[in-house]
Amino acid sequence: MAESNEPQAKATASVSSSGNPTSSLSRVSKCPETLEEGKRSFSDDAGFARVQPMIEDWHQPWLNGVELLEDSNHNKHFLPTGYEGIDVLLGGGLCEGQLTEMVGPSSSGKTQVCLYSAALVADKHFGVVMFVDTCNSFSPKRIACIVDQLSSSFSGEAKERRLKRVMSNIFCHSVFDIFALLDVLHQLEFKLKQQVKSGDTKICLLIIDSISSLLTPVLGGKGSEGRLLMVSAGIILKKLANEYNISVLVTNHMVGGEGGILKPALGESWKSIPHVRLQLTRDQGSNICNVSILKHTFMATGRTAKFVIHSRSCSVQDGRGR
Protein backbone atom coordinates (compact mmCIF):
# COMPACT_ATOMS: atom_id res chain seq x y z
CA MET A 1 0.00 0.00 0.00
CA ALA A 2 3.03 2.20 0.06
CA GLU A 3 2.63 3.27 -3.55
CA SER A 4 -0.97 4.26 -3.09
CA ASN A 5 -0.21 6.35 -0.06
CA GLU A 6 2.35 8.36 -1.94
CA PRO A 7 0.01 9.84 -4.57
CA GLN A 8 -2.40 10.58 -1.74
CA ALA A 9 0.16 12.64 0.11
CA LYS A 10 1.27 14.39 -3.02
CA ALA A 11 -2.32 15.13 -3.98
CA THR A 12 -2.98 16.94 -0.74
CA ALA A 13 0.25 18.82 -1.06
CA SER A 14 -0.57 20.06 -4.52
CA VAL A 15 -4.10 21.08 -3.58
CA SER A 16 -2.61 23.51 -1.12
CA SER A 17 -0.28 24.92 -3.75
CA SER A 18 -1.44 27.07 -6.62
CA GLY A 19 -2.97 24.02 -8.23
CA ASN A 20 -0.71 24.13 -11.22
CA PRO A 21 -2.08 21.28 -13.31
CA THR A 22 1.14 20.43 -15.07
CA SER A 23 3.16 19.70 -11.96
CA SER A 24 0.54 17.47 -10.39
CA LEU A 25 -0.09 15.68 -13.63
CA SER A 26 3.54 14.87 -14.08
CA ARG A 27 3.62 13.32 -10.65
CA VAL A 28 0.49 11.28 -11.13
CA SER A 29 1.41 10.12 -14.57
CA LYS A 30 4.13 7.75 -13.51
CA CYS A 31 3.64 4.75 -15.73
CA PRO A 32 2.92 1.57 -13.77
CA GLU A 33 5.52 -1.09 -14.24
CA THR A 34 3.23 -4.07 -14.35
CA LEU A 35 -0.37 -4.63 -15.17
CA GLU A 36 -1.18 -5.54 -11.61
CA GLU A 37 0.23 -2.29 -10.39
CA GLY A 38 -1.80 -0.42 -12.98
CA LYS A 39 -4.99 -2.20 -11.99
CA ARG A 40 -4.32 -1.53 -8.37
CA SER A 41 -3.68 2.15 -8.93
CA PHE A 42 -6.98 2.49 -10.76
CA SER A 43 -9.16 0.38 -8.57
CA ASP A 44 -7.60 1.46 -5.33
CA ASP A 45 -10.27 3.72 -3.90
CA ALA A 46 -8.17 5.59 -1.43
CA GLY A 47 -5.50 6.74 -3.83
CA PHE A 48 -7.39 7.45 -7.02
CA ALA A 49 -10.53 8.72 -5.39
CA ARG A 50 -8.59 11.56 -3.81
CA VAL A 51 -7.10 12.56 -7.12
CA GLN A 52 -10.21 12.08 -9.19
CA PRO A 53 -12.21 15.18 -8.27
CA MET A 54 -9.12 17.24 -8.89
CA ILE A 55 -8.71 15.77 -12.33
CA GLU A 56 -12.36 16.33 -13.10
CA ASP A 57 -11.81 20.03 -12.56
CA TRP A 58 -9.24 20.14 -15.28
CA HIS A 59 -11.31 18.96 -18.17
CA GLN A 60 -14.67 19.79 -19.65
CA PRO A 61 -17.64 17.72 -18.52
CA TRP A 62 -18.54 14.48 -20.29
CA LEU A 63 -21.69 14.63 -22.33
CA ASN A 64 -23.64 12.07 -24.23
CA GLY A 65 -25.48 12.30 -27.52
CA VAL A 66 -28.85 13.08 -25.97
CA GLU A 67 -27.49 15.97 -23.93
CA LEU A 68 -25.69 17.35 -26.97
CA LEU A 69 -28.90 17.28 -28.98
CA GLU A 70 -30.84 19.04 -26.26
CA ASP A 71 -28.22 21.74 -26.01
CA SER A 72 -28.26 22.18 -29.75
CA ASN A 73 -32.04 22.44 -29.90
CA HIS A 74 -32.49 24.81 -27.00
CA ASN A 75 -29.47 27.02 -27.18
CA LYS A 76 -28.06 27.06 -30.63
CA HIS A 77 -30.39 29.12 -32.79
CA PHE A 78 -29.93 30.36 -36.32
CA LEU A 79 -29.29 34.06 -36.83
CA PRO A 80 -30.49 35.40 -40.17
CA THR A 81 -28.05 37.38 -42.24
CA GLY A 82 -30.79 39.27 -44.03
CA TYR A 83 -29.84 38.01 -47.45
CA GLU A 84 -32.28 35.30 -48.38
CA GLY A 85 -29.89 33.49 -50.64
CA ILE A 86 -27.35 32.96 -47.88
CA ASP A 87 -29.98 32.11 -45.30
CA VAL A 88 -31.55 29.43 -47.45
CA LEU A 89 -28.14 28.05 -48.35
CA LEU A 90 -27.15 27.75 -44.70
CA GLY A 91 -30.45 26.29 -43.63
CA GLY A 92 -31.57 29.28 -41.60
CA GLY A 93 -28.59 31.54 -41.28
CA LEU A 94 -25.52 31.76 -39.10
CA CYS A 95 -25.56 29.07 -36.48
CA GLU A 96 -24.82 29.96 -32.88
CA GLY A 97 -21.98 27.91 -31.55
CA GLN A 98 -20.20 27.80 -34.88
CA LEU A 99 -17.41 29.76 -36.48
CA THR A 100 -18.37 30.87 -40.00
CA GLU A 101 -15.79 32.18 -42.39
CA MET A 102 -16.47 34.23 -45.49
CA VAL A 103 -13.78 34.21 -48.11
CA GLY A 104 -13.72 36.36 -51.17
CA PRO A 105 -11.68 38.76 -53.23
CA SER A 106 -11.94 42.40 -52.35
CA SER A 107 -15.24 44.12 -52.99
CA SER A 108 -17.15 40.86 -53.21
CA GLY A 109 -19.66 41.82 -50.57
CA LYS A 110 -18.15 40.42 -47.37
CA THR A 111 -18.34 43.63 -45.38
CA GLN A 112 -21.85 44.27 -46.63
CA VAL A 113 -22.99 40.90 -45.35
CA CYS A 114 -21.34 41.62 -42.00
CA LEU A 115 -23.01 45.02 -41.68
CA TYR A 116 -26.39 43.74 -42.76
CA SER A 117 -26.41 40.83 -40.35
CA ALA A 118 -25.25 43.11 -37.53
CA ALA A 119 -28.09 45.51 -38.21
CA LEU A 120 -30.67 42.77 -38.58
CA VAL A 121 -29.68 40.88 -35.47
CA ALA A 122 -29.64 44.06 -33.40
CA ASP A 123 -32.96 45.10 -34.82
CA LYS A 124 -34.77 41.85 -34.19
CA HIS A 125 -33.84 41.68 -30.50
CA PHE A 126 -31.73 38.54 -30.81
CA GLY A 127 -29.08 40.09 -28.65
CA VAL A 128 -26.07 42.30 -28.64
CA VAL A 129 -23.68 42.38 -31.57
CA MET A 130 -19.96 42.90 -31.21
CA PHE A 131 -18.16 44.13 -34.28
CA VAL A 132 -14.37 43.91 -34.24
CA ASP A 133 -13.15 46.15 -36.97
CA THR A 134 -9.61 45.77 -38.25
CA CYS A 135 -9.74 47.74 -41.43
CA ASN A 136 -12.05 50.66 -40.69
CA SER A 137 -14.87 49.07 -42.57
CA PHE A 138 -17.57 49.65 -40.00
CA SER A 139 -19.84 52.38 -41.21
CA PRO A 140 -22.60 53.75 -38.97
CA LYS A 141 -24.11 55.50 -41.96
CA ARG A 142 -24.58 52.21 -43.73
CA ILE A 143 -26.20 50.69 -40.65
CA ALA A 144 -28.54 53.68 -40.47
CA CYS A 145 -29.36 53.17 -44.12
CA ILE A 146 -30.17 49.52 -43.57
CA VAL A 147 -32.38 50.25 -40.56
CA ASP A 148 -34.08 52.90 -42.65
CA GLN A 149 -34.88 50.29 -45.28
CA LEU A 150 -36.13 47.84 -42.68
CA SER A 151 -38.41 50.36 -41.02
CA SER A 152 -39.70 52.02 -44.15
CA SER A 153 -43.29 51.75 -42.96
CA PHE A 154 -42.70 53.60 -39.71
CA SER A 155 -43.06 57.27 -38.93
CA GLY A 156 -40.23 59.63 -38.14
CA GLU A 157 -40.28 59.39 -34.35
CA ALA A 158 -40.48 55.62 -34.34
CA LYS A 159 -37.70 55.44 -36.86
CA GLU A 160 -35.45 57.54 -34.66
CA ARG A 161 -36.09 55.37 -31.65
CA ARG A 162 -35.54 52.22 -33.60
CA LEU A 163 -32.27 53.49 -34.98
CA LYS A 164 -31.12 54.46 -31.53
CA ARG A 165 -31.97 51.06 -30.15
CA VAL A 166 -30.18 49.25 -32.93
CA MET A 167 -27.09 51.42 -32.59
CA SER A 168 -26.95 50.88 -28.87
CA ASN A 169 -26.95 47.14 -29.39
CA ILE A 170 -23.92 47.12 -31.64
CA PHE A 171 -20.53 47.50 -30.00
CA CYS A 172 -17.64 48.27 -32.24
CA HIS A 173 -13.99 47.72 -31.33
CA SER A 174 -11.10 48.73 -33.50
CA VAL A 175 -8.07 46.50 -33.32
CA PHE A 176 -5.06 46.64 -35.55
CA ASP A 177 -2.91 43.74 -34.47
CA ILE A 178 -3.38 40.18 -33.35
CA PHE A 179 -2.36 40.79 -29.76
CA ALA A 180 -5.02 43.44 -29.34
CA LEU A 181 -7.53 40.98 -30.74
CA LEU A 182 -6.53 38.26 -28.30
CA ASP A 183 -6.78 40.82 -25.54
CA VAL A 184 -10.29 41.82 -26.58
CA LEU A 185 -11.35 38.18 -26.75
CA HIS A 186 -9.98 37.39 -23.32
CA GLN A 187 -11.73 40.40 -21.84
CA LEU A 188 -14.94 39.32 -23.50
CA GLU A 189 -14.60 35.85 -22.04
CA PHE A 190 -14.01 37.27 -18.60
CA LYS A 191 -16.99 39.55 -18.87
CA LEU A 192 -19.23 36.74 -20.07
CA LYS A 193 -18.24 34.56 -17.14
CA GLN A 194 -19.35 37.29 -14.79
CA GLN A 195 -22.44 37.99 -16.78
CA VAL A 196 -23.85 34.49 -16.49
CA LYS A 197 -25.13 35.42 -13.09
CA SER A 198 -26.69 38.74 -14.03
CA GLY A 199 -29.48 38.83 -16.55
CA ASP A 200 -28.23 41.42 -19.04
CA THR A 201 -28.86 41.04 -22.71
CA LYS A 202 -26.01 38.99 -23.83
CA ILE A 203 -23.96 38.97 -26.95
CA CYS A 204 -25.11 36.63 -29.68
CA LEU A 205 -23.08 37.63 -32.71
CA LEU A 206 -19.38 38.39 -32.90
CA ILE A 207 -18.08 39.69 -36.20
CA ILE A 208 -14.41 40.09 -36.97
CA ASP A 209 -14.08 41.90 -40.23
CA SER A 210 -10.96 40.70 -41.81
CA ILE A 211 -9.21 38.50 -39.34
CA SER A 212 -6.83 37.78 -42.17
CA SER A 213 -5.48 41.31 -42.11
CA LEU A 214 -4.37 40.64 -38.53
CA LEU A 215 -2.89 37.24 -39.17
CA THR A 216 -1.10 37.62 -42.50
CA PRO A 217 1.59 39.91 -41.13
CA VAL A 218 2.57 37.34 -38.51
CA LEU A 219 2.29 34.25 -40.65
CA GLY A 220 4.87 33.32 -43.17
CA GLY A 221 8.44 32.43 -42.77
CA LYS A 222 9.75 29.46 -40.90
CA GLY A 223 8.78 30.65 -37.45
CA SER A 224 5.89 28.92 -35.83
CA GLU A 225 4.75 31.88 -33.77
CA GLY A 226 2.36 33.08 -36.41
CA ARG A 227 0.56 29.75 -36.64
CA LEU A 228 0.51 29.54 -32.88
CA LEU A 229 -1.30 32.88 -32.69
CA MET A 230 -3.70 31.82 -35.40
CA VAL A 231 -4.54 28.51 -33.74
CA SER A 232 -4.91 30.15 -30.33
CA ALA A 233 -7.28 32.74 -31.75
CA GLY A 234 -9.26 29.98 -33.40
CA ILE A 235 -9.54 28.00 -30.18
CA ILE A 236 -10.69 31.01 -28.16
CA LEU A 237 -13.26 31.91 -30.80
CA LYS A 238 -14.66 28.39 -30.88
CA LYS A 239 -14.71 28.21 -27.11
CA LEU A 240 -16.63 31.49 -26.88
CA ALA A 241 -18.98 30.30 -29.58
CA ASN A 242 -19.78 27.06 -27.90
CA GLU A 243 -19.91 27.96 -24.24
CA TYR A 244 -21.81 31.22 -24.55
CA ASN A 245 -23.92 30.39 -27.63
CA ILE A 246 -22.41 33.06 -29.84
CA SER A 247 -22.21 32.92 -33.60
CA VAL A 248 -18.82 34.05 -34.82
CA LEU A 249 -18.42 35.46 -38.32
CA VAL A 250 -14.97 36.20 -39.72
CA THR A 251 -13.85 37.33 -43.12
CA ASN A 252 -10.81 36.32 -45.06
CA HIS A 253 -9.30 37.49 -48.30
CA MET A 254 -7.84 35.58 -51.20
CA VAL A 255 -4.33 35.23 -52.50
CA GLY A 256 -2.87 33.91 -55.69
CA GLY A 257 -2.20 30.22 -55.72
CA GLU A 258 -0.64 27.88 -58.22
CA GLY A 259 -1.42 28.56 -61.82
CA GLY A 260 -2.81 31.98 -60.99
CA ILE A 261 -5.97 30.62 -59.39
CA LEU A 262 -7.09 32.48 -56.33
CA LYS A 263 -7.25 30.58 -53.10
CA PRO A 264 -8.18 31.58 -49.57
CA ALA A 265 -5.45 33.16 -47.50
CA LEU A 266 -4.13 31.93 -44.14
CA GLY A 267 -2.88 28.61 -45.40
CA GLU A 268 -3.49 24.98 -44.55
CA SER A 269 -3.52 25.24 -40.80
CA TRP A 270 -6.45 27.60 -40.89
CA LYS A 271 -8.56 25.24 -43.00
CA SER A 272 -9.36 23.01 -40.07
CA ILE A 273 -10.45 25.82 -37.79
CA PRO A 274 -13.79 27.21 -39.04
CA HIS A 275 -16.96 25.12 -38.99
CA VAL A 276 -18.41 26.68 -42.12
CA ARG A 277 -16.54 28.27 -45.00
CA LEU A 278 -18.34 30.27 -47.64
CA GLN A 279 -16.88 31.73 -50.77
CA LEU A 280 -18.27 34.96 -52.20
CA THR A 281 -17.75 36.27 -55.69
CA ARG A 282 -19.24 39.23 -57.47
CA ASP A 283 -19.24 39.99 -61.13
CA GLN A 284 -17.80 43.33 -62.06
CA GLY A 285 -20.27 46.15 -61.89
CA SER A 286 -23.17 43.98 -60.89
CA ASN A 287 -25.14 43.82 -57.68
CA ILE A 288 -25.52 40.09 -57.71
CA CYS A 289 -23.14 38.08 -55.56
CA ASN A 290 -22.60 34.37 -55.68
CA VAL A 291 -22.00 32.44 -52.54
CA SER A 292 -20.89 28.83 -52.47
CA ILE A 293 -20.15 26.44 -49.65
CA LEU A 294 -16.52 25.42 -49.33
CA LYS A 295 -17.01 23.48 -46.15
CA HIS A 296 -19.93 22.81 -43.84
CA THR A 297 -20.55 20.51 -40.94
CA PHE A 298 -23.65 18.93 -42.38
CA MET A 299 -24.33 20.29 -45.83
CA ALA A 300 -22.75 19.16 -49.03
CA THR A 301 -20.03 21.36 -50.40
CA GLY A 302 -20.44 22.97 -53.76
CA ARG A 303 -23.98 24.21 -53.19
CA THR A 304 -24.38 27.75 -54.42
CA ALA A 305 -26.83 30.60 -54.14
CA LYS A 306 -27.15 34.19 -55.27
CA PHE A 307 -28.09 37.29 -53.41
CA VAL A 308 -28.41 40.95 -54.27
CA ILE A 309 -26.81 43.81 -52.44
CA HIS A 310 -28.91 46.90 -52.59
CA SER A 311 -26.62 49.85 -52.62
CA ARG A 312 -29.35 52.41 -52.74
CA SER A 313 -28.09 55.52 -51.06
CA CYS A 314 -30.48 57.02 -48.60
CA SER A 315 -30.57 60.30 -46.80
CA VAL A 316 -30.04 59.81 -43.10
CA GLN A 317 -31.70 62.28 -40.78
CA ASP A 318 -29.45 63.87 -38.25
CA GLY A 319 -31.83 63.64 -35.39
CA ARG A 320 -32.43 67.33 -35.44
CA GLY A 321 -35.68 68.78 -36.62
CA ARG A 322 -38.37 66.67 -38.25
Binding site: P32, I55, L63, K222
Partner: protein, 313 residues
Protein backbone atom coordinates in the same frame (compact mmCIF):
# COMPACT_ATOMS: atom_id res chain seq x y z
CA UNK B 1 13.76 -21.02 -5.66
CA UNK B 2 11.78 -24.20 -5.45
CA UNK B 3 10.33 -23.76 -8.92
CA UNK B 4 11.08 -26.34 -11.44
CA UNK B 5 13.29 -24.65 -14.03
CA UNK B 6 12.10 -27.10 -16.66
CA UNK B 7 8.51 -26.08 -16.06
CA UNK B 8 9.58 -22.47 -16.36
CA UNK B 9 11.05 -23.05 -19.78
CA UNK B 10 8.03 -24.94 -21.10
CA UNK B 11 5.78 -21.90 -21.12
CA UNK B 12 2.07 -21.48 -20.64
CA UNK B 13 0.55 -22.37 -23.95
CA UNK B 14 1.55 -23.14 -27.48
CA UNK B 15 1.43 -20.53 -30.19
CA UNK B 16 -1.49 -22.25 -31.84
CA UNK B 17 -3.51 -22.20 -28.66
CA UNK B 18 -2.67 -18.55 -28.12
CA UNK B 19 -3.70 -17.62 -31.64
CA UNK B 20 -7.03 -19.37 -31.37
CA UNK B 21 -7.63 -17.74 -28.01
CA UNK B 22 -6.87 -14.29 -29.27
CA UNK B 23 -8.95 -14.69 -32.39
CA UNK B 24 -11.98 -15.61 -30.33
CA UNK B 25 -11.44 -12.99 -27.66
CA UNK B 26 -10.59 -10.19 -30.04
CA UNK B 27 -12.00 -10.99 -33.42
CA UNK B 28 -11.31 -8.97 -36.53
CA UNK B 29 -14.14 -6.64 -37.29
CA UNK B 30 -15.10 -5.38 -40.69
CA UNK B 31 -17.18 -2.37 -39.95
CA UNK B 32 -18.09 -0.03 -42.72
CA UNK B 33 -16.71 2.44 -43.70
CA UNK B 34 -13.48 0.69 -42.80
CA UNK B 35 -14.62 -2.72 -43.96
CA UNK B 36 -11.72 -3.11 -46.31
CA UNK B 37 -9.31 -3.06 -43.43
CA UNK B 38 -9.23 -5.78 -40.78
CA UNK B 39 -9.18 -4.14 -37.38
CA UNK B 40 -9.22 -5.48 -33.85
CA UNK B 41 -9.58 -3.91 -30.47
CA UNK B 42 -6.21 -2.83 -29.28
CA UNK B 43 -5.26 -1.41 -32.63
CA UNK B 44 -4.47 2.22 -33.07
CA UNK B 45 -5.47 3.63 -36.41
CA UNK B 46 -4.61 7.03 -37.69
CA UNK B 47 -6.51 8.53 -40.57
CA UNK B 48 -4.48 11.28 -42.14
CA UNK B 49 -5.32 13.55 -45.00
CA UNK B 50 -5.45 17.16 -46.11
CA UNK B 51 -8.17 19.38 -44.84
CA UNK B 52 -11.26 18.89 -46.95
CA UNK B 53 -11.02 15.11 -47.13
CA UNK B 54 -13.67 13.12 -45.33
CA UNK B 55 -11.75 12.11 -42.21
CA UNK B 56 -14.28 13.26 -39.64
CA UNK B 57 -17.04 11.72 -41.73
CA UNK B 58 -15.31 8.36 -41.50
CA UNK B 59 -15.28 8.70 -37.74
CA UNK B 60 -18.95 9.61 -37.65
CA UNK B 61 -20.00 6.73 -39.87
CA UNK B 62 -17.93 4.30 -37.84
CA UNK B 63 -19.49 5.71 -34.66
CA UNK B 64 -23.01 5.25 -36.02
CA UNK B 65 -22.23 1.67 -36.98
CA UNK B 66 -20.99 1.07 -33.49
CA UNK B 67 -23.87 2.57 -31.54
CA UNK B 68 -26.61 0.94 -33.60
CA UNK B 69 -27.74 -2.35 -32.12
CA UNK B 70 -27.46 -5.65 -33.91
CA UNK B 71 -31.19 -6.04 -34.00
CA UNK B 72 -34.14 -4.06 -32.72
CA UNK B 73 -37.74 -5.29 -32.70
CA UNK B 74 -37.11 -7.69 -35.46
CA UNK B 75 -35.24 -5.34 -37.75
CA UNK B 76 -31.62 -5.99 -38.50
CA UNK B 77 -29.29 -3.04 -38.24
CA UNK B 78 -26.03 -4.87 -38.19
CA UNK B 79 -24.35 -2.62 -35.68
CA UNK B 80 -22.32 -3.49 -32.62
CA UNK B 81 -24.49 -1.89 -29.98
CA UNK B 82 -21.53 -0.65 -27.98
CA UNK B 83 -20.32 2.70 -26.75
CA UNK B 84 -18.13 5.23 -28.45
CA UNK B 85 -15.97 7.76 -26.66
CA UNK B 86 -15.26 10.80 -28.79
CA UNK B 87 -12.53 13.28 -27.90
CA UNK B 88 -13.18 16.45 -29.81
CA UNK B 89 -9.89 18.31 -29.86
CA UNK B 90 -10.74 20.35 -32.93
CA UNK B 91 -14.03 21.50 -31.37
CA UNK B 92 -15.74 21.11 -34.70
CA UNK B 93 -18.15 18.31 -33.96
CA UNK B 94 -21.73 18.94 -35.00
CA UNK B 95 -24.31 16.79 -33.30
CA UNK B 96 -26.81 17.52 -36.06
CA UNK B 97 -24.61 15.70 -38.52
CA UNK B 98 -24.40 12.67 -36.28
CA UNK B 99 -28.14 12.58 -35.80
CA UNK B 100 -28.63 13.02 -39.54
CA UNK B 101 -26.48 9.98 -40.32
CA UNK B 102 -28.12 7.93 -37.58
CA UNK B 103 -31.64 8.74 -38.72
CA UNK B 104 -30.71 7.97 -42.27
CA UNK B 105 -29.37 4.54 -41.33
CA UNK B 106 -32.45 3.77 -39.29
CA UNK B 107 -34.76 4.80 -42.13
CA UNK B 108 -32.76 2.76 -44.59
CA UNK B 109 -33.01 -0.34 -42.46
CA UNK B 110 -36.76 0.11 -42.07
CA UNK B 111 -37.20 0.69 -45.75
CA UNK B 112 -35.26 -2.39 -46.75
CA UNK B 113 -37.20 -4.49 -44.26
CA UNK B 114 -40.44 -3.12 -45.67
CA UNK B 115 -39.29 -3.90 -49.18
CA UNK B 116 -38.48 -7.50 -48.39
CA UNK B 117 -41.71 -7.87 -46.47
CA UNK B 118 -43.81 -6.65 -49.34
CA UNK B 119 -41.82 -8.61 -51.87
CA UNK B 120 -42.59 -11.79 -49.97
CA UNK B 121 -46.23 -10.93 -49.75
CA UNK B 122 -46.37 -10.17 -53.44
CA UNK B 123 -47.96 -6.79 -52.91
CA UNK B 124 -46.99 -3.87 -55.04
CA UNK B 125 -48.37 -1.13 -52.88
CA UNK B 126 -47.15 -0.19 -49.48
CA UNK B 127 -49.65 1.22 -47.09
CA UNK B 128 -48.91 3.60 -44.32
CA UNK B 129 -49.26 1.36 -41.34
CA UNK B 130 -45.63 0.24 -41.26
CA UNK B 131 -44.43 3.82 -41.57
CA UNK B 132 -46.40 5.04 -38.58
CA UNK B 133 -45.18 2.08 -36.62
CA UNK B 134 -41.72 3.11 -37.73
CA UNK B 135 -42.05 6.65 -36.42
CA UNK B 136 -43.17 5.39 -33.05
CA UNK B 137 -40.22 3.05 -32.68
CA UNK B 138 -37.88 5.63 -34.09
CA UNK B 139 -37.49 7.91 -31.13
CA UNK B 140 -36.86 5.19 -28.64
CA UNK B 141 -34.19 3.55 -30.75
CA UNK B 142 -32.68 6.88 -31.68
CA UNK B 143 -32.35 8.04 -28.08
CA UNK B 144 -31.02 4.68 -27.05
CA UNK B 145 -28.29 4.95 -29.64
CA UNK B 146 -27.44 8.54 -28.81
CA UNK B 147 -26.99 7.60 -25.19
CA UNK B 148 -24.20 5.30 -26.23
CA UNK B 149 -22.22 8.15 -27.75
CA UNK B 150 -19.99 9.81 -25.14
CA UNK B 151 -18.41 13.09 -25.98
CA UNK B 152 -15.84 15.41 -24.46
CA UNK B 153 -14.25 18.55 -25.78
CA UNK B 154 -10.72 19.66 -24.96
CA UNK B 155 -9.24 23.08 -25.44
CA UNK B 156 -5.59 22.31 -24.79
CA UNK B 157 -3.24 19.40 -24.23
CA UNK B 158 -3.58 19.48 -20.46
CA UNK B 159 -7.32 19.08 -20.64
CA UNK B 160 -6.79 16.23 -23.07
CA UNK B 161 -4.43 14.47 -20.69
CA UNK B 162 -6.77 14.98 -17.77
CA UNK B 163 -9.66 13.60 -19.79
CA UNK B 164 -7.64 10.54 -20.79
CA UNK B 165 -6.82 9.86 -17.18
CA UNK B 166 -10.43 10.19 -16.16
CA UNK B 167 -11.73 8.20 -19.09
CA UNK B 168 -11.44 4.78 -17.54
CA UNK B 169 -13.51 5.52 -14.46
CA UNK B 170 -16.09 7.36 -16.49
CA UNK B 171 -16.42 4.54 -18.97
CA UNK B 172 -16.82 2.06 -16.11
CA UNK B 173 -19.67 4.13 -14.70
CA UNK B 174 -21.40 4.40 -18.05
CA UNK B 175 -20.91 0.71 -18.77
CA UNK B 176 -22.62 -0.18 -15.55
CA UNK B 177 -25.45 2.21 -16.29
CA UNK B 178 -26.06 1.11 -19.87
CA UNK B 179 -24.83 -2.45 -19.75
CA UNK B 180 -22.51 -2.27 -22.73
CA UNK B 181 -18.80 -1.69 -23.00
CA UNK B 182 -16.77 0.81 -24.97
CA UNK B 183 -15.55 -0.25 -28.38
CA UNK B 184 -14.17 2.89 -30.00
CA UNK B 185 -11.97 5.67 -28.74
CA UNK B 186 -12.09 8.41 -31.33
CA UNK B 187 -9.80 11.39 -31.31
CA UNK B 188 -10.68 14.08 -33.76
CA UNK B 189 -7.51 15.65 -34.91
CA UNK B 190 -4.72 14.49 -32.70
CA UNK B 191 -2.56 17.24 -34.16
CA UNK B 192 -4.90 20.01 -33.03
CA UNK B 193 -2.59 21.36 -30.35
CA UNK B 194 0.63 20.83 -32.24
CA UNK B 195 1.47 24.50 -32.71
CA UNK B 196 0.59 25.35 -29.14
CA UNK B 197 2.66 22.53 -27.71
CA UNK B 198 5.54 23.27 -29.98
CA UNK B 199 5.77 26.73 -28.53
CA UNK B 200 6.14 25.35 -25.02
CA UNK B 201 9.66 26.07 -24.06
CA UNK B 202 11.37 23.04 -22.52
CA UNK B 203 11.90 24.86 -19.26
CA UNK B 204 11.85 22.95 -16.02
CA UNK B 205 8.92 24.00 -13.92
CA UNK B 206 9.79 24.50 -10.31
CA UNK B 207 12.97 22.55 -9.96
CA UNK B 208 14.90 19.97 -11.85
CA UNK B 209 13.20 16.90 -10.42
CA UNK B 210 9.98 17.38 -12.32
CA UNK B 211 9.40 16.66 -15.95
CA UNK B 212 9.89 19.47 -18.40
CA UNK B 213 6.88 20.56 -20.33
CA UNK B 214 7.67 20.42 -23.98
CA UNK B 215 6.19 19.03 -27.15
CA UNK B 216 8.01 15.75 -26.71
CA UNK B 217 7.04 15.24 -23.11
CA UNK B 218 3.41 16.06 -23.79
CA UNK B 219 3.34 13.67 -26.70
CA UNK B 220 4.95 10.98 -24.60
CA UNK B 221 2.44 11.56 -21.82
CA UNK B 222 -0.46 11.21 -24.26
CA UNK B 223 1.00 8.01 -25.66
CA UNK B 224 1.56 6.62 -22.18
CA UNK B 225 -2.01 7.33 -21.18
CA UNK B 226 -3.38 5.65 -24.26
CA UNK B 227 -1.13 2.64 -23.65
CA UNK B 228 -2.38 2.37 -20.09
CA UNK B 229 -5.95 2.60 -21.25
CA UNK B 230 -5.43 -0.11 -23.81
CA UNK B 231 -4.06 -2.37 -21.11
CA UNK B 232 -6.99 -1.76 -18.82
CA UNK B 233 -9.71 -1.78 -21.36
CA UNK B 234 -9.11 -2.87 -24.92
CA UNK B 235 -10.66 -0.43 -27.35
CA UNK B 236 -10.06 0.43 -30.95
CA UNK B 237 -8.43 3.82 -31.24
CA UNK B 238 -9.21 5.92 -34.30
CA UNK B 239 -7.47 9.25 -34.66
CA UNK B 240 -7.65 11.77 -37.46
CA UNK B 241 -4.89 14.07 -38.40
CA UNK B 242 -4.81 16.95 -40.85
CA UNK B 243 -1.64 16.88 -42.88
CA UNK B 244 -0.10 20.24 -43.40
CA UNK B 245 2.14 20.61 -46.39
CA UNK B 246 5.03 22.52 -45.09
CA UNK B 247 8.64 22.65 -46.08
CA UNK B 248 11.49 22.50 -43.71
CA UNK B 249 13.03 20.21 -41.22
CA UNK B 250 9.84 18.67 -39.94
CA UNK B 251 9.53 16.77 -43.18
CA UNK B 252 12.86 15.08 -42.78
CA UNK B 253 12.19 14.09 -39.20
CA UNK B 254 8.89 12.61 -40.27
CA UNK B 255 10.46 10.52 -42.98
CA UNK B 256 13.12 9.22 -40.67
CA UNK B 257 10.48 8.24 -38.15
CA UNK B 258 8.40 6.51 -40.77
CA UNK B 259 11.16 4.09 -41.50
CA UNK B 260 10.57 2.58 -38.10
CA UNK B 261 6.85 2.20 -38.10
CA UNK B 262 5.53 1.88 -41.62
CA UNK B 263 5.14 -1.15 -43.76
CA UNK B 264 6.77 -0.94 -47.12
CA UNK B 265 3.69 -0.47 -49.23
CA UNK B 266 2.52 2.59 -47.37
CA UNK B 267 6.00 4.14 -47.35
CA UNK B 268 5.94 4.66 -51.09
CA UNK B 269 2.83 6.76 -51.07
CA UNK B 270 4.24 8.81 -48.23
CA UNK B 271 7.64 9.94 -49.36
CA UNK B 272 6.55 12.30 -52.09
CA UNK B 273 8.92 15.18 -51.98
CA UNK B 274 6.56 18.01 -51.19
CA UNK B 275 4.82 16.36 -48.30
CA UNK B 276 6.30 17.61 -45.09
CA UNK B 277 4.11 16.51 -42.28
CA UNK B 278 3.88 17.85 -38.85
CA UNK B 279 3.85 14.92 -36.54
CA UNK B 280 6.57 15.17 -34.02
CA UNK B 281 4.52 13.01 -31.75
CA UNK B 282 4.77 10.02 -33.96
CA UNK B 283 8.44 9.51 -33.27
CA UNK B 284 7.52 8.71 -29.73
CA UNK B 285 4.89 6.13 -30.31
CA UNK B 286 6.33 3.15 -28.49
CA UNK B 287 6.62 -0.18 -30.17
CA UNK B 288 3.92 -1.62 -27.95
CA UNK B 289 1.27 -0.50 -30.41
CA UNK B 290 0.15 -3.71 -32.02
CA UNK B 291 -0.51 -2.39 -35.43
CA UNK B 292 -0.65 1.11 -36.81
CA UNK B 293 -2.31 1.80 -40.07
CA UNK B 294 -1.94 4.78 -42.27
CA UNK B 295 -4.73 5.79 -44.59
CA UNK B 296 -3.28 8.60 -46.60
CA UNK B 297 -4.59 11.14 -49.02
CA UNK B 298 -4.98 8.95 -52.03
CA UNK B 299 -6.72 6.27 -50.07
CA UNK B 300 -9.14 8.85 -48.84
CA UNK B 301 -10.60 9.02 -52.30
CA UNK B 302 -10.98 5.29 -52.34
CA UNK B 303 -12.78 5.28 -49.05
CA UNK B 304 -14.94 8.21 -50.04
CA UNK B 305 -16.29 6.23 -52.96
CA UNK B 306 -17.37 3.56 -50.57
CA UNK B 307 -18.94 6.11 -48.30
CA UNK B 308 -21.04 7.34 -51.15
CA UNK B 309 -21.97 3.79 -51.97
CA UNK B 310 -23.24 2.80 -48.58
CA UNK B 311 -25.04 5.96 -47.54
CA UNK B 312 -26.67 8.59 -49.64
CA UNK B 313 -25.15 11.86 -48.53
Amino acid sequence: MEENPRGWIHGDETAKAMLSRILTERPFLFLPPLHRVPLRVGNVVEIAGPSPSAKSQILLHAAVNCILPEEWKGIRFGGLGRMVMYFDLDCRFDVLRLSQILKHRIMEAYRSTNNTYWKEKGEHQKNDAPTTHMYLCDDELFLDCMRRFLYIRCYNSFEFLAALKAMHSHSQRESEALGVSVHFLMIDSIGAFYWMDRACQPMPIGGSKRKNVSLQSLAEAVVQEICKLLQMQPVLVLATKATIFGAGTSGNDAQRAFGKWCSEGKMDSRTSSREGEKLMYREYMPSSWQMKLYLVGNMEHFLRMHLNGCSLH
